[in-house]
């Protein structure tokens, strides 16, 4: 299996949508074949269309607020004593997380295809919140599917979705988390694909959704590349990019523009959710060597039993609480372009405490996983190593969990 240079990774799949010949694809009911093909044609045309790209960039700049900040975490760097630690503050984006890029692009595509309704799934609630914002902005009706367990633990985002006029549909099946929300959203699309567009909230699902999402979040690395050159004059010789990985949309977007650099110069480190330290359950299929299986239309490494039933996951972070992983990351793992590890719930909380103690930054529980590993690694790195952590979400949505686990003083108000 080989990663090709000079071809965007999203376009390295084969005719049937498989990366490396085995990850991704379109394992979908017959009813969805035509809508997916339509979306593929539309997307393939529009991504080459200069006018469309200009339109996208206009909204990214004026509405989302591109570029998001790239900052040095001076105090944390001093405290850790090793590599220079920076953060790309993607949570600056309108709405507070990277999910806004994919949501915006999907709404632009829905408008072009003449659809009046858009449906989407959400775990932490950010994908749903952003889709509700974008739908409102572009005059689309919006329906969000969310696991009942996630609705209970991510209330601030639920409120935001409702405020934006979206209908939030609670999903009570299975583990009542993201995996079930995605299934239910796909079911809704099967029954309504003639009038409704679907936005899959991460780089998962049938191949075209993986591609659209990766194309959208790549804005993050486009900005970062410019910012790195501004700061250092060129791309640093020892650059390490840390990102949490759930479905894998923020990490893929954070890395995409650096794909062709040698990994000795520019290393990618993905941090999965290891779950509670004492639990056997986790949401880290790459770290723990899960087998390939089919989930939500795509072949990927996925937590499952020997029969092929998808296993329940456990993580403090709703946004990472997913048994599978993007086919793009399976591809990056097997081609050895990126390396993957995990952090536990407790690790993430520790990192959150440390980052908020030293910096004016409030990473949500998802990027807190990445911060934990980045901080631990930085101690061992030389001072000329540049570590960048994607702070891809804001912790406001986690205030309930943080208050419960760490006490009131750790909950910072808006």
């Amino acid at each position: 299996m080989k990663l090709k240079k000079k071809i965007p990774v999203i376009d390295q799949g084969n005719k049937l949508g498989f990366w490396g010949g085995k990850f991704g694809g379109n394992f979908v009911p017959e009813t969805l074949k035509k809508p997916i093909e339509d979306l593929e044609i539309l997307f393939n045309n529009l991504k080459k269309d200069k006018k469309f790209i200009a339109e996208r960039d206009k909204y990214f700049k004026n509405w989302i607020g591109a570029p998001t900040r790239f900052i040095k975490l001076e105090n944390l760097t001093k405290h850790v004593g090793g590599a220079q630690i920076y953060s790309k503050v993607v949570s600056d984006a309108n709405g507070g997380a990277h999910k806004i890029y994919n949501a915006t692009v999907h709404c632009l595509l829905a408008k072009r295809s003449g659809k009046k309704v858009i449906c989407g799934d959400t775990g932490a609630g950010y994908a749903g919140k952003m889709l509700s914002m974008a739908a409102k902005k572009f005059g689309l009706k919006c329906k969000i599917f969310m696991g009942a367990k996630d609705i209970a633990r991510q209330q601030p985002n639920v409120k935001a979705m409702k405020k934006n006029g979206a209908e939030v549909v609670p999903v009570y099946s299975g583990s009542q988390t993201l995996v079930d929300a995605v299934s239910e959203c796909m079911r809704f699309w099967v029954a309504n694909c003639d009038t409704t567009a679907m936005c899959v909230g991460s780089t998962v699902g049938p191949a075209v959704f993986v591609r659209i999402c990766g194309w959208s979040t790549s804005q993050i690395s486009r900005e970062l590349k410019v910012q790195l050159i501004d700061e250092f004059g060129s791309i640093p010789k020892k650059l390490k990019l840390y990102n949490c990985v759930g479905g894998g949309s923020s990490s893929f977007g954070f890395w995409n523009e650096f794909m062709d650099y040698d990994k000795k110069q520019c290393e990618f480190i993905g941090v999965e959710a290891g779950g509670p330290a004492k639990s056997k359950k986790h949401a880290a299929p790459l770290t723990y060597g899960s087998k390939i299986g089919i989930l939500h239309g795509a072949a990927q490494y996925v937590n499952q039993n020997s029969d092929g039933q998808i296993e329940e996951t456990e993580s403090i972070s709703a946004g990472l609480d997913y048994p599978g992983i993007s086919p793009l990351h399976c591809f990056l793992k097997d081609t050895k372009r990126a390396r993957y590890t995990s952090a536990s719930d407790e690790d993430a909380l520790k990192a959150y405490k440390l980052v908020t103690k030293f910096e004016k930054l409030r990473p949500s529980l998802e990027p807190s996983h990445a911060f934990f590993v980045a901080i631990a690694d930085s101690k061992k790195f030389s001072q000329d190593t540049i570590v960048v952590v994607n702070s891809c979400g804001d912790a406001y949505k986690d205030k309930g969990i943080l208050e419960q686990r760490l006490g009131k003083k750790y909950v910072k108000s808006n």
């Binding site: 979908v28 017959e30 009813t31 079911r187 003639d194 089919i294 939500h296 020997s306 092929g308 998808i310």
Partner: protein, 266 residues
């Protein structure tokens, strides 16, 4: 030898009625009960579809999901399902059985192993919900070489060009999804409209048996008498759930329901 599926269609045609196909989930309400249901309904059913329960079924509505989750909770494993079919086939050698499920279960078992096990337990056909054409070409070929029908699904969204290609590759039976819906949805299109689409499909190759499924219940089944076959699934799963909730015997209740369904298409 003629595949029992084709034989069943032949008999129904001779009796000038559509074939009746039922769908029940293996292991619902228990392993034993699901076998008893198959045995008990088989006198009124032409082809039995047996569902392999999966816990992320993206095309199934509430009724079948409930049955599937219940079966999984009861501890059903894929080998138990093959055993159920084997036992059933010992009693009813010629009653055709179709296994219906999602691809991951087959993928984990190994395609070749799965087909071998199907053959050994007496499965006559396979429906794989999330393995559409052309992705299913190889697997379908493997099935054919063991005289197992791979049943292609066709939908109202399938374009004419695609219909022709799929039907050309298909074995003797196709499954037409009546409307845009998950299983168990209410009929949201008129029977007339559904039959119009159905006839368009039949015309492409009249010799291939095509059944209609999704939205077929006691109420609606009588309106589709001109089809080769009709599938009732969610209505049966619902009856099992209702029976269990009321502490009644699902075997007798489902048998009664199936008897009524049969009456309506005679």
């Amino acid at each position: 030898m003629l595949n029992p599926i084709s034989a069943a269609f032949k008999i129904a045609k001779k009796e000038k009625r559509p074939a009746l196909l039922t769908y029940t989930v293996a292991g619902d309400g228990s392993k034993k009960q699901s076998l008893n249901i198959l045995e008990s309904i088989s006198e009124n059913v032409d082809i039995l579809e047996v569902g392999v329960p999966h816990n992320t079924p993206v095309a199934d509505g509430t009724q079948i999901q409930t049955s599937a989750y219940r079966a999984i909770k009861n501890g059903i494993k894929i080998n138990d399902i093959f055993n159920i079919i084997k036992k059933f086939k010992k009693l009813q050698k010629n009653k055709p059985v179709i296994l219906m499920g999602y691809y991951n279960m087959i993928f984990q078992y190994g395609e070749n192993n799965y087909i071998k096990k199907c053959k050994a337990s007496g499965v006559n056909g396979l429906i794989v919900v999330d393995l559409p054409w052309p992705e299913n070409k190889n697997f379908a070929k493997k099935c054919k070489s063991k005289s197992i029908y791979f049943i292609q699904l066709l939908s109202p969204t399938t374009t004419n060009k695609r219909l022709r290609k799929i039907i050309k590759d298909s074995h003797q039976m196709n499954y037409f999804i009546s409307m845009l819906s998950t299983t168990g949805g209410k009929l949201k299109v008129t029977p007339k409209e559904i039959l119009k689409n159905y006839n368009k499909i039949k015309k492409i190759d009249p010799k291939k048996h095509t059944v209609i499924g999704f939205g077929i219940t006691e109420k609606t089944i009588g309106k589709f008498k001109s089809a080769d076959g009709l599938v009732v699934g969610s209505a049966i799963c619902k009856e099992i759930t209702r029976s269990l909730n009321n502490r009644q015997n699902p075997v007798t209740n489902v048998s009664r329901l199936v008897k009524n369904l049969k009456k309506k298409i005679r």
